[in-house]
Amino acid sequence: MPDFEPVIGLEIHVELKTGSKMFCGCSADYFGHDPNTHCCPVCLGLPGALPVPNRKAVEWCVMLGMALGCTIPEFSKFDRKNYFYPDLPKGYQISQYDQPFCVNGKLKIKEQGTNNKEQREKIIRIRRVHMEEDTGKLLHATVEGKKVSLIDFNRSGVPLVEIVTEPDIRTSEEARIFLKKLHHVVRYLGISDADMEKGSMRLEPNISVKLKTDGNLPPYKVEVKNINSFNFAKKAIDFEINRHIELLSDGIVPKQETRGWEEKKGVTYSQRSKEEAQDYRYFPEPDIPPVRWTKSQISNLKSQICELPDQKIARFMGDYSLSEYDAVVLTDEKETAEYFENVMKQVTKNKGQITAKTIANWIINRKADISKVSSEELIKQISQKSQKATMSDDELGQIVKKVLGANPKAVADYKAGRKNALMFLVGQVMKETKGKVNIEKAGLLLRDLI
């Protein structure tokens, strides 16, 4: 069988959690609200209504682009994407076509090797990050015995950022890691809940397969929609790769089309083929003047970007001598990382003796409830515990010797290979020391002395 290679690109939509919608003053916090209660003439596309862009949303889009290493062109504009659909009240979506806010970025991903030790780094290029508006939502229901389609416009006009990668991804795992990382960056910036269940982050992989020896991109691609988790994205990609390989092995080039993901069956199904592909008749949105950034506006936005996960991990490893594992876990949630640093700050301020590693352990392994336990309290808890271990080694040595002398049978048992005997001896040491020593330390010392 010839050696095939998948070619995968991703399109990701992220709903921004700005206070108001993209082009009007309606609240963008629509989830779970009664239908058509977050609407006005603008987001309903009523005759004569005009869009006024949400500055915050545009800035956030640019900041996301910057976080993804994009170039921010000085000139950008909105365009109209024309198509008819009942959830699209104006008959066009305000989007960006040829001059998006952000272009040419990249995101580095790390993939664990098969032996779980090696790490492979890879750069996934970002083609563009642009701003657009969300559509309304169709609900198909039965009302008074009649099958009807209902439209809820609450979501109409909610700011949406679209991130498009280059087709640099080669495996479904790479795709999954990329998506998780992007999700992480978005969450860090605090610009979206990026909650896939609620649809505030939507994934559309573009998949094709070619011969490994073929340097060109395949002559077709399949876009998969309706995916609402990273794992489903992985599954859908794998399903498609296998499907394409089967077809290609039979000498058939898969059809260029849009497919949907059927979660229950774990399969994709055809939605729209290339022949039905739309001509969106993009043209510049005449209702919104183009955006021209000044250098100071750009640098000002850049300065507002928080420390991103990669930078934080590196800093945690450098400044606090943490292992990569600890640094990764601590920085997974921005709040956890902040909590950790708060504790560290106080320890340093009070010239405390607690190490970063200990704090990390308390947060990671002992799962300190950071929402309830204040940093002061955590320090107190750690200190109390560690005071128990403040007994000097000499003192401990004395006690261990005493215990050994008092329990010759147990010593003999241990020497005979009964491991449980050591546990008994440890228990005796703990009793003598009233629990003031570390169990592991006591165990080690006992073993050494036997």
Binding site: L46, P47, L50, V52, N82, F84, P89, G91, R281, I288
Partner: protein
Amino acid sequence: MLPENIKVILWWTQFLRISMLLEKSIKELASGLKEKKFSSEDLVRECYENIEKLNPVLNVFVTLRDKDEVIKEAREKDKKTPVNSLLYGLPFVIKDSYNTKGIRTTASSKVLETYIPPYNATVYQKLLDAGAILIGKTNMDAWGHGASSENTDFGPVRNPWDNSRVAGGSSGGNAAAIAARMAVFGIGEDTGGSIRNPSGWCNITGLKVTYGRVSRYGCIAYVSSFDTVGPMARTAEDCAIILQVTAGKDPLDATSSPEEVPDYGSRLNGDIKGMTIGMPKECYGEGVDNEIKSLIYKAAEQYAKLGVEIKEISMPMLEYGVPVYYLIGTSETSSNLARYDGIRYGNGRNKFTSETMRRIMLGTYALSAGYYDAYYKKAQQGRTLFIKEYAKAFTQCDAILMPIEPMPATKLGELIGDPVKNMLADIFTCQTPVGIPSLAVPVGFTKSNLPVGMQLLGNMFSEPLLLKLGYFYQKVTDWHKKSNL
């Protein structure tokens, strides 16, 4: 005996005409109201008298407000302490393309036959805040698609000067209403001549403002990047007063300009001596009615007498105006009308008129993959050249003097029956892609007593200059005072 009687009747007619309140300027009306020489109710009653008498033939309104309701409103205004505006208590009309909360708004299309908007257009709200009183929503070419007010689902508007002819368009209802003294003023909308054309053909004064000068919020879009919201009234001075109320940045319209709003009234004063008016030779060649040419030459002579230098200039690009305008215009309108998809406004797309369908098809084609570069993009490049052409012209003169239309008001059916002729009629008014303002001013009548207007064009935001030129001309002429009542 009989001749004597006729004389008496003629005298009375003359007297009634002169005594008609609606012959007064806005300034005179405002001071009369203030001094309680007459009331807002008197004005409203006079409007309705004319409407009852003339509207059955002229067909000015798509939606006329209930007379008693309006009179009640006027009475309330008469009782209240007026807000500090010259428009307080004055009856006006507005083109049916403007959203008026609770009052049907159709853009003269069956598609919106029963549409009652839940919000007000900014311009309408500003007039309400100033205390002006709406009489009704005026008939127009549906969606602004036309220059004759025949492309309407509510019957064509007829010209008050000759009922067998059209009023012009697309703001034809407004022009006819003001010419027939059914209101003190009107708010029109000019995309490619829609204020100036009917103003010229109905003998009123109309101002196409600079793009962005007045908020478009709530104005049903024809061509979003050309649409402008302007006053239509009897004089340049009236237009200045109305513009004072309507102009300015609107947070609801991202394309409205932050450019400061000058005091248009006080800028009418001073002098026009030493100014230069350019007359592009391309506007006075073949294809333009000789009577129109000679009336505009006479207007130029009048300006010369006022100390203005008249200069011939050349604008060879002008002939490309129609294609540039109609490619961008139809492209945008094809998109702007997409929202009328049959789902939400009661009627479907099959209710568009054939003229509107033609424009949607043309625009859809111009934007389609494979044609975009050849049509839409080319037209945008043409637009840039146009902007340069006008910028160059304005280095040679302060204002440009042109005819509005190549011919006087056409017969009913003449334009609507010939789509290409209909488009070509916009030759002098389709410089809207440039965004500059233009004032239409009456300059006399043809031998068959049809009104003729001229237009004065100026640089971006030169409304004060254009209004001043119009004001000075109207101080020494009385064409604008004539009506056919």
